[in-house]
Protein backbone atom coordinates (compact mmCIF):
# COMPACT_ATOMS: atom_id res chain seq x y z
CA UNK A 1 0.00 0.00 0.00
CA UNK A 2 2.82 2.35 0.96
CA UNK A 3 4.50 1.73 -2.42
CA UNK A 4 1.31 2.57 -4.26
CA UNK A 5 1.03 5.84 -2.34
CA UNK A 6 4.65 6.64 -3.19
CA UNK A 7 4.09 5.93 -6.87
CA UNK A 8 0.90 7.98 -7.01
CA UNK A 9 2.48 10.89 -5.19
CA UNK A 10 5.46 10.67 -7.55
CA UNK A 11 3.16 10.83 -10.54
CA UNK A 12 1.36 13.84 -9.08
CA UNK A 13 4.71 15.57 -8.55
CA UNK A 14 5.76 14.84 -12.12
CA UNK A 15 2.45 16.11 -13.42
CA UNK A 16 2.91 19.28 -11.39
CA UNK A 17 6.39 19.80 -12.86
CA UNK A 18 5.04 19.14 -16.35
CA UNK A 19 2.22 21.60 -15.79
CA UNK A 20 4.70 24.20 -14.57
CA UNK A 21 6.90 23.68 -17.63
CA UNK A 22 3.90 23.92 -19.92
CA UNK A 23 2.77 27.13 -18.31
CA UNK A 24 6.25 28.65 -18.64
CA UNK A 25 6.40 27.66 -22.29
CA UNK A 26 2.85 28.92 -22.79
CA UNK A 27 3.66 32.27 -21.27
CA UNK A 28 6.80 32.54 -23.42
CA UNK A 29 4.82 32.00 -26.57
CA UNK A 30 1.77 33.86 -25.40
CA UNK A 31 -1.29 34.56 -27.45
CA UNK A 32 -0.43 36.36 -30.65
CA UNK A 33 -2.22 39.63 -31.05
CA UNK A 34 -2.77 41.40 -34.32
CA UNK A 35 0.10 43.70 -33.45
CA UNK A 36 2.41 40.73 -33.02
CA UNK A 37 1.32 39.18 -36.31
CA UNK A 38 1.57 42.43 -38.21
CA UNK A 39 4.95 43.64 -36.99
CA UNK A 40 6.75 40.32 -37.14
CA UNK A 41 6.51 40.62 -40.93
CA UNK A 42 9.37 43.10 -40.63
CA UNK A 43 11.73 40.92 -38.64
CA UNK A 44 15.09 40.79 -40.36
CA UNK A 45 18.06 38.56 -39.63
CA UNK A 46 20.61 41.28 -39.79
CA UNK A 47 23.46 42.95 -37.99
CA UNK A 48 22.20 46.06 -36.26
CA UNK A 49 24.34 49.18 -36.14
CA UNK A 50 22.85 50.59 -32.94
CA UNK A 51 22.73 48.84 -29.57
CA UNK A 52 21.60 50.23 -26.22
CA UNK A 53 22.28 48.81 -22.80
CA UNK A 54 18.93 50.05 -21.50
CA UNK A 55 15.70 51.65 -22.62
CA UNK A 56 16.76 54.87 -20.91
CA UNK A 57 19.92 54.87 -23.06
CA UNK A 58 17.72 54.24 -26.08
CA UNK A 59 15.58 57.25 -25.19
CA UNK A 60 18.66 59.46 -24.73
CA UNK A 61 19.94 58.50 -28.17
CA UNK A 62 16.67 58.57 -30.12
CA UNK A 63 15.73 61.66 -32.11
CA UNK A 64 12.05 61.17 -31.40
CA UNK A 65 10.10 58.98 -28.97
CA UNK A 66 6.34 58.85 -29.42
CA UNK A 67 3.23 56.98 -28.45
CA UNK A 68 0.71 56.63 -31.24
CA UNK A 69 -1.30 54.33 -33.47
CA UNK A 70 -0.74 53.00 -36.96
CA UNK A 71 -3.29 54.52 -39.34
CA UNK A 72 -1.86 53.64 -42.75
CA UNK A 73 0.65 51.34 -44.39
CA UNK A 74 1.83 51.23 -47.99
CA UNK A 75 4.85 50.52 -50.14
CA UNK A 76 7.27 53.39 -49.72
CA UNK A 77 9.92 52.73 -52.35
CA UNK A 78 11.85 50.00 -54.06
CA UNK A 79 15.59 50.32 -54.53
CA UNK A 80 16.63 48.65 -57.75
CA UNK A 81 20.37 48.25 -57.89
CA UNK A 82 22.76 47.87 -60.79
CA UNK A 83 22.54 44.13 -60.26
CA UNK A 84 19.38 43.40 -62.16
CA UNK A 85 17.96 40.48 -60.24
CA UNK A 86 17.99 42.21 -56.88
CA UNK A 87 15.87 44.93 -55.33
CA UNK A 88 15.11 46.05 -51.81
CA UNK A 89 11.79 47.52 -50.67
CA UNK A 90 10.69 49.71 -47.81
CA UNK A 91 7.21 49.99 -46.39
CA UNK A 92 5.87 53.28 -45.08
CA UNK A 93 3.90 53.27 -41.83
CA UNK A 94 2.00 56.41 -40.93
CA UNK A 95 1.67 56.79 -37.19
CA UNK A 96 -0.81 59.22 -35.62
CA UNK A 97 0.92 60.70 -32.59
CA UNK A 98 -0.96 60.74 -29.31
CA UNK A 99 1.94 61.60 -27.03
CA UNK A 100 5.44 62.94 -27.63
CA UNK A 101 7.87 61.49 -25.12
CA UNK A 102 11.02 63.04 -26.55
CA UNK A 103 11.71 65.46 -29.39
CA UNK A 104 9.32 67.48 -31.49
CA UNK A 105 6.88 66.53 -34.22
CA UNK A 106 5.99 68.79 -37.14
CA UNK A 107 2.58 67.26 -37.80
CA UNK A 108 0.05 65.01 -36.12
CA UNK A 109 1.43 62.04 -38.02
CA UNK A 110 4.97 60.67 -38.36
CA UNK A 111 6.21 58.64 -41.38
CA UNK A 112 8.25 55.59 -40.38
CA UNK A 113 9.98 53.35 -42.90
CA UNK A 114 10.48 49.64 -42.40
CA UNK A 115 12.70 47.39 -44.46
CA UNK A 116 10.65 44.64 -46.05
CA UNK A 117 12.54 41.35 -46.16
CA UNK A 118 10.25 39.81 -48.76
CA UNK A 119 11.51 38.69 -52.12
CA UNK A 120 10.59 41.01 -55.01
CA UNK A 121 8.15 38.40 -56.33
CA UNK A 122 6.27 38.23 -53.03
CA UNK A 123 6.27 41.94 -52.32
CA UNK A 124 2.98 43.07 -53.83
CA UNK A 125 0.90 40.40 -52.12
CA UNK A 126 2.63 41.09 -48.80
CA UNK A 127 1.96 44.81 -49.04
CA UNK A 128 -1.69 44.13 -49.89
CA UNK A 129 -2.00 41.86 -46.85
CA UNK A 130 -0.47 44.45 -44.56
CA UNK A 131 -2.57 47.31 -45.93
CA UNK A 132 -5.72 45.39 -45.13
CA UNK A 133 -4.77 44.23 -41.66
CA UNK A 134 -3.64 47.30 -39.76
CA UNK A 135 -3.37 46.43 -36.07
CA UNK A 136 -5.37 48.41 -33.56
CA UNK A 137 -3.96 49.73 -30.32
CA UNK A 138 -1.21 52.03 -29.19
CA UNK A 139 2.48 51.57 -29.91
CA UNK A 140 5.60 53.26 -28.58
CA UNK A 141 8.36 54.08 -31.04
CA UNK A 142 11.99 55.09 -30.45
CA UNK A 143 12.88 56.77 -33.74
CA UNK A 144 15.89 57.94 -35.69
CA UNK A 145 15.57 60.73 -38.25
CA UNK A 146 17.00 59.20 -41.41
CA UNK A 147 18.37 62.51 -42.61
CA UNK A 148 20.29 63.19 -45.80
CA UNK A 149 18.51 62.17 -48.95
CA UNK A 150 15.96 60.34 -46.79
CA UNK A 151 15.15 63.44 -44.78
CA UNK A 152 11.62 63.56 -43.43
CA UNK A 153 11.51 59.82 -42.86
CA UNK A 154 12.13 57.98 -39.62
CA UNK A 155 13.21 54.44 -38.74
CA UNK A 156 13.18 52.65 -35.40
CA UNK A 157 16.59 52.95 -33.73
CA UNK A 158 16.84 49.15 -33.86
CA UNK A 159 14.60 46.10 -33.56
CA UNK A 160 13.90 47.00 -29.90
CA UNK A 161 12.58 50.39 -30.95
CA UNK A 162 8.93 49.39 -31.35
CA UNK A 163 6.71 48.32 -28.45
CA UNK A 164 3.12 47.11 -28.42
CA UNK A 165 0.77 45.33 -26.07
CA UNK A 166 0.79 41.59 -26.59
CA UNK A 167 -0.09 38.31 -24.98
CA UNK A 168 2.85 38.63 -22.60
CA UNK A 169 2.24 42.22 -21.65
CA UNK A 170 4.46 44.73 -23.41
CA UNK A 171 6.34 43.21 -26.32
CA UNK A 172 8.90 44.25 -28.94
CA UNK A 173 7.45 42.44 -31.97
CA UNK A 174 10.32 43.24 -34.33
CA UNK A 175 12.64 41.12 -32.19
CA UNK A 176 13.05 37.49 -33.13
CA UNK A 177 14.44 36.06 -29.91
CA UNK A 178 14.31 36.80 -26.24
CA UNK A 179 16.20 39.60 -24.44
CA UNK A 180 18.53 36.95 -23.07
CA UNK A 181 19.54 35.96 -26.60
CA UNK A 182 20.03 39.52 -27.66
CA UNK A 183 22.24 41.30 -25.13
CA UNK A 184 19.21 43.20 -23.92
CA UNK A 185 18.67 41.62 -20.52
CA UNK A 186 18.37 44.94 -18.73
CA UNK A 187 15.15 45.71 -20.61
CA UNK A 188 13.40 42.97 -18.68
CA UNK A 189 14.18 44.68 -15.38
CA UNK A 190 13.10 48.06 -16.71
CA UNK A 191 9.78 46.63 -17.82
CA UNK A 192 9.03 44.96 -14.49
CA UNK A 193 5.54 45.88 -13.37
CA UNK A 194 4.57 47.40 -16.72
CA UNK A 195 1.68 45.53 -18.30
CA UNK A 196 0.68 47.68 -21.26
CA UNK A 197 1.81 50.39 -23.66
CA UNK A 198 0.20 53.14 -21.57
CA UNK A 199 2.29 52.04 -18.60
CA UNK A 200 5.44 51.97 -20.72
CA UNK A 201 4.67 55.39 -22.12
CA UNK A 202 4.19 56.83 -18.63
CA UNK A 203 7.39 55.17 -17.45
CA UNK A 204 9.34 56.76 -20.33
CA UNK A 205 7.72 60.12 -19.65
CA UNK A 206 8.77 59.83 -16.02
CA UNK A 207 12.36 59.71 -17.10
CA UNK A 208 13.16 56.06 -17.66
Amino acid sequence: MFNIVKIVSGLISCAAVFGLLSSIRGSQLGTQTTNEVFWKSFRVDGMEVEHFESLSDMKKSADLVIEGALIDFRLSREIRTAIGEDSVAYGLATVRVSRVLKGQVKAETVPVEFLMPDSPEALSSRVADLESTLPAGAIVLFLRDKGGRESGLYRTVNSWGLWASGGRGVIAPLVEGSPEADNSRSYVAELAGISDVAGLSQSIANGK
Partner: protein, 212 residues
Protein backbone atom coordinates in the same frame (compact mmCIF):
# COMPACT_ATOMS: atom_id res chain seq x y z
CA UNK B 1 -3.14 -3.63 -3.89
CA UNK B 2 -0.42 -6.07 -2.97
CA UNK B 3 -0.53 -7.68 -6.40
CA UNK B 4 3.15 -7.68 -7.53
CA UNK B 5 2.14 -7.64 -11.21
CA UNK B 6 -0.02 -4.60 -10.80
CA UNK B 7 2.71 -2.85 -8.83
CA UNK B 8 5.23 -3.56 -11.57
CA UNK B 9 2.84 -2.14 -14.16
CA UNK B 10 2.40 0.99 -12.10
CA UNK B 11 6.16 1.30 -11.68
CA UNK B 12 6.62 0.82 -15.43
CA UNK B 13 4.01 3.51 -16.11
CA UNK B 14 5.80 5.83 -13.68
CA UNK B 15 9.13 5.24 -15.43
CA UNK B 16 7.59 5.99 -18.82
CA UNK B 17 5.96 9.12 -17.43
CA UNK B 18 9.21 10.36 -15.91
CA UNK B 19 11.03 9.55 -19.16
CA UNK B 20 8.52 11.61 -21.10
CA UNK B 21 9.03 14.43 -18.61
CA UNK B 22 12.79 14.35 -19.12
CA UNK B 23 12.23 14.33 -22.85
CA UNK B 24 9.96 17.35 -22.58
CA UNK B 25 12.55 19.21 -20.48
CA UNK B 26 15.21 18.31 -23.02
CA UNK B 27 13.06 19.67 -25.82
CA UNK B 28 12.58 22.97 -24.03
CA UNK B 29 16.31 23.23 -23.31
CA UNK B 30 17.17 22.48 -26.95
CA UNK B 31 14.94 25.17 -28.37
CA UNK B 32 17.77 27.65 -28.75
CA UNK B 33 19.72 25.25 -30.94
CA UNK B 34 18.67 25.15 -34.54
CA UNK B 35 17.34 27.40 -37.23
CA UNK B 36 15.08 30.24 -36.25
CA UNK B 37 12.91 30.63 -39.27
CA UNK B 38 10.44 33.47 -39.41
CA UNK B 39 7.31 31.58 -40.39
CA UNK B 40 5.72 34.48 -42.18
CA UNK B 41 3.70 34.35 -45.34
CA UNK B 42 5.03 34.89 -48.84
CA UNK B 43 7.92 32.53 -48.28
CA UNK B 44 9.93 34.94 -46.17
CA UNK B 45 12.15 32.99 -43.88
CA UNK B 46 15.34 34.07 -42.24
CA UNK B 47 18.18 32.14 -40.67
CA UNK B 48 17.13 28.80 -42.10
CA UNK B 49 19.27 25.86 -43.14
CA UNK B 50 20.50 26.00 -46.69
CA UNK B 51 19.90 23.25 -49.16
CA UNK B 52 23.31 22.30 -50.58
CA UNK B 53 23.68 22.25 -54.35
CA UNK B 54 23.79 18.67 -55.53
CA UNK B 55 26.34 17.62 -58.11
CA UNK B 56 29.59 19.25 -59.13
CA UNK B 57 32.89 18.37 -60.67
CA UNK B 58 34.82 17.54 -57.53
CA UNK B 59 34.68 14.54 -55.27
CA UNK B 60 32.26 16.49 -53.15
CA UNK B 61 28.72 16.08 -54.29
CA UNK B 62 27.06 18.64 -52.04
CA UNK B 63 28.05 22.26 -52.23
CA UNK B 64 27.56 25.48 -50.29
CA UNK B 65 28.25 27.84 -53.15
CA UNK B 66 28.48 31.59 -52.60
CA UNK B 67 28.25 33.92 -55.59
CA UNK B 68 29.43 37.50 -55.28
CA UNK B 69 27.44 39.87 -57.45
CA UNK B 70 29.12 43.15 -58.34
CA UNK B 71 30.80 43.58 -54.96
CA UNK B 72 33.29 46.42 -54.46
CA UNK B 73 36.81 45.02 -54.20
CA UNK B 74 37.09 45.61 -50.45
CA UNK B 75 33.89 43.70 -49.78
CA UNK B 76 34.81 40.91 -52.21
CA UNK B 77 38.17 40.45 -50.49
CA UNK B 78 36.57 40.25 -47.07
CA UNK B 79 33.85 37.82 -48.16
CA UNK B 80 36.61 35.66 -49.66
CA UNK B 81 38.52 35.87 -46.36
CA UNK B 82 35.47 34.78 -44.41
CA UNK B 83 34.79 31.87 -46.77
CA UNK B 84 38.44 30.80 -46.66
CA UNK B 85 38.84 31.25 -42.92
CA UNK B 86 35.60 31.31 -40.96
CA UNK B 87 33.73 28.72 -43.00
CA UNK B 88 36.55 26.72 -44.56
CA UNK B 89 34.92 23.41 -43.83
CA UNK B 90 35.65 21.69 -47.12
CA UNK B 91 38.29 19.44 -45.60
CA UNK B 92 36.16 18.60 -42.61
CA UNK B 93 32.91 17.60 -44.23
CA UNK B 94 31.94 15.94 -47.48
CA UNK B 95 30.53 19.31 -48.43
CA UNK B 96 32.34 21.65 -50.81
CA UNK B 97 32.32 25.23 -49.57
CA UNK B 98 33.16 27.58 -52.40
CA UNK B 99 32.92 31.23 -53.41
CA UNK B 100 33.32 33.03 -56.67
CA UNK B 101 32.73 36.34 -58.37
CA UNK B 102 29.91 35.57 -60.75
CA UNK B 103 27.75 37.21 -63.35
CA UNK B 104 24.77 35.08 -62.41
CA UNK B 105 23.19 33.78 -59.26
CA UNK B 106 20.13 31.59 -59.22
CA UNK B 107 18.42 28.72 -57.49
CA UNK B 108 19.91 25.98 -59.63
CA UNK B 109 23.60 26.69 -59.14
CA UNK B 110 23.92 28.86 -56.03
CA UNK B 111 23.31 28.75 -52.30
CA UNK B 112 23.88 32.39 -51.49
CA UNK B 113 23.94 35.52 -53.65
CA UNK B 114 25.92 38.36 -52.06
CA UNK B 115 25.37 42.05 -52.82
CA UNK B 116 26.83 45.26 -51.43
CA UNK B 117 24.95 48.46 -52.15
CA UNK B 118 23.87 51.69 -50.54
CA UNK B 119 20.44 50.65 -49.30
CA UNK B 120 19.98 53.82 -47.26
CA UNK B 121 19.80 54.55 -43.55
CA UNK B 122 18.05 51.42 -42.31
CA UNK B 123 20.12 50.72 -39.19
CA UNK B 124 21.61 47.55 -40.61
CA UNK B 125 25.13 46.82 -41.82
CA UNK B 126 23.83 43.70 -43.51
CA UNK B 127 21.01 41.20 -43.56
CA UNK B 128 20.04 37.82 -44.89
CA UNK B 129 16.78 36.67 -46.43
CA UNK B 130 15.56 33.52 -48.09
CA UNK B 131 14.38 34.24 -51.62
CA UNK B 132 14.29 30.67 -52.83
CA UNK B 133 11.99 27.82 -51.97
CA UNK B 134 11.45 27.48 -48.24
CA UNK B 135 10.46 24.04 -47.00
CA UNK B 136 9.58 22.67 -43.59
CA UNK B 137 8.95 24.44 -40.35
CA UNK B 138 11.00 25.85 -37.52
CA UNK B 139 13.45 24.66 -36.30
CA UNK B 140 14.21 22.55 -39.37
CA UNK B 141 13.25 24.92 -42.15
CA UNK B 142 15.40 24.87 -45.27
CA UNK B 143 15.90 27.35 -48.08
CA UNK B 144 17.22 26.79 -51.59
CA UNK B 145 18.59 30.31 -52.11
CA UNK B 146 19.59 33.09 -49.73
CA UNK B 147 20.40 36.69 -50.50
CA UNK B 148 22.94 38.43 -48.32
CA UNK B 149 23.01 42.23 -48.60
CA UNK B 150 25.74 44.41 -47.16
CA UNK B 151 24.72 48.00 -46.65
CA UNK B 152 27.40 50.49 -47.70
CA UNK B 153 25.33 53.46 -46.48
CA UNK B 154 27.73 54.26 -43.66
CA UNK B 155 30.77 52.63 -42.08
CA UNK B 156 29.38 50.29 -39.42
CA UNK B 157 30.89 50.11 -35.94
CA UNK B 158 32.30 46.71 -36.81
CA UNK B 159 34.41 45.24 -39.60
CA UNK B 160 33.23 44.06 -43.00
CA UNK B 161 34.58 40.60 -42.16
CA UNK B 162 32.47 40.50 -39.02
CA UNK B 163 29.36 41.45 -40.97
CA UNK B 164 30.16 38.92 -43.70
CA UNK B 165 30.75 36.16 -41.14
CA UNK B 166 27.44 37.05 -39.47
CA UNK B 167 25.27 37.11 -42.58
CA UNK B 168 26.84 34.05 -44.21
CA UNK B 169 26.35 32.33 -40.83
CA UNK B 170 22.62 33.01 -41.12
CA UNK B 171 22.70 31.35 -44.52
CA UNK B 172 24.12 28.23 -42.84
CA UNK B 173 21.22 28.37 -40.39
CA UNK B 174 22.93 29.99 -37.42
CA UNK B 175 20.82 32.31 -35.32
CA UNK B 176 21.59 35.34 -33.20
CA UNK B 177 23.19 34.88 -29.85
CA UNK B 178 24.20 36.92 -26.81
CA UNK B 179 27.56 35.12 -26.79
CA UNK B 180 30.46 37.41 -27.63
CA UNK B 181 32.93 34.76 -28.84
CA UNK B 182 31.16 34.50 -32.18
CA UNK B 183 30.34 36.74 -35.12
CA UNK B 184 26.67 35.80 -34.61
CA UNK B 185 26.17 38.33 -31.82
CA UNK B 186 23.23 40.51 -32.88
CA UNK B 187 25.01 43.80 -32.31
CA UNK B 188 28.55 42.72 -33.16
CA UNK B 189 29.56 42.84 -29.51
CA UNK B 190 32.91 41.12 -29.06
CA UNK B 191 34.29 42.10 -32.44
CA UNK B 192 34.73 38.46 -33.47
CA UNK B 193 35.16 37.69 -37.18
CA UNK B 194 34.73 33.93 -36.92
CA UNK B 195 31.98 31.63 -35.65
CA UNK B 196 32.41 29.92 -32.28
CA UNK B 197 33.15 26.23 -31.81
CA UNK B 198 29.53 25.93 -30.70
CA UNK B 199 28.41 27.36 -34.05
CA UNK B 200 30.65 24.97 -35.96
CA UNK B 201 29.21 22.08 -33.94
CA UNK B 202 25.77 23.26 -34.98
CA UNK B 203 26.76 23.32 -38.63
CA UNK B 204 28.36 19.88 -38.32
CA UNK B 205 25.24 18.36 -36.82
CA UNK B 206 23.06 19.94 -39.49
CA UNK B 207 25.10 19.05 -42.54
CA UNK B 208 27.19 16.07 -41.57
CA UNK B 209 25.46 14.10 -38.77
CA UNK B 210 28.22 11.45 -38.60
CA UNK B 211 30.56 14.16 -37.31
CA UNK B 212 28.06 15.34 -34.74
Amino acid sequence: VNNPGRRRRLQLFAHIFVGAMIGAIGHVAAMNFGSIGTPGGSGTTNGVFLVPIEGGSSAYTRQYRVKMRGLPTAWANDVAWVMNTSYNLTYVYPLLVSWEVSSTCNDSDSSVCVYAENYGNNGLSGWNACVGVAVGSHPNMTCTLNRVRFNTFAPPPFSRRQTACHELGHAWGLQHTAATDTCMNTFGIGGTEVPSNHDISHITCAYWPPGC
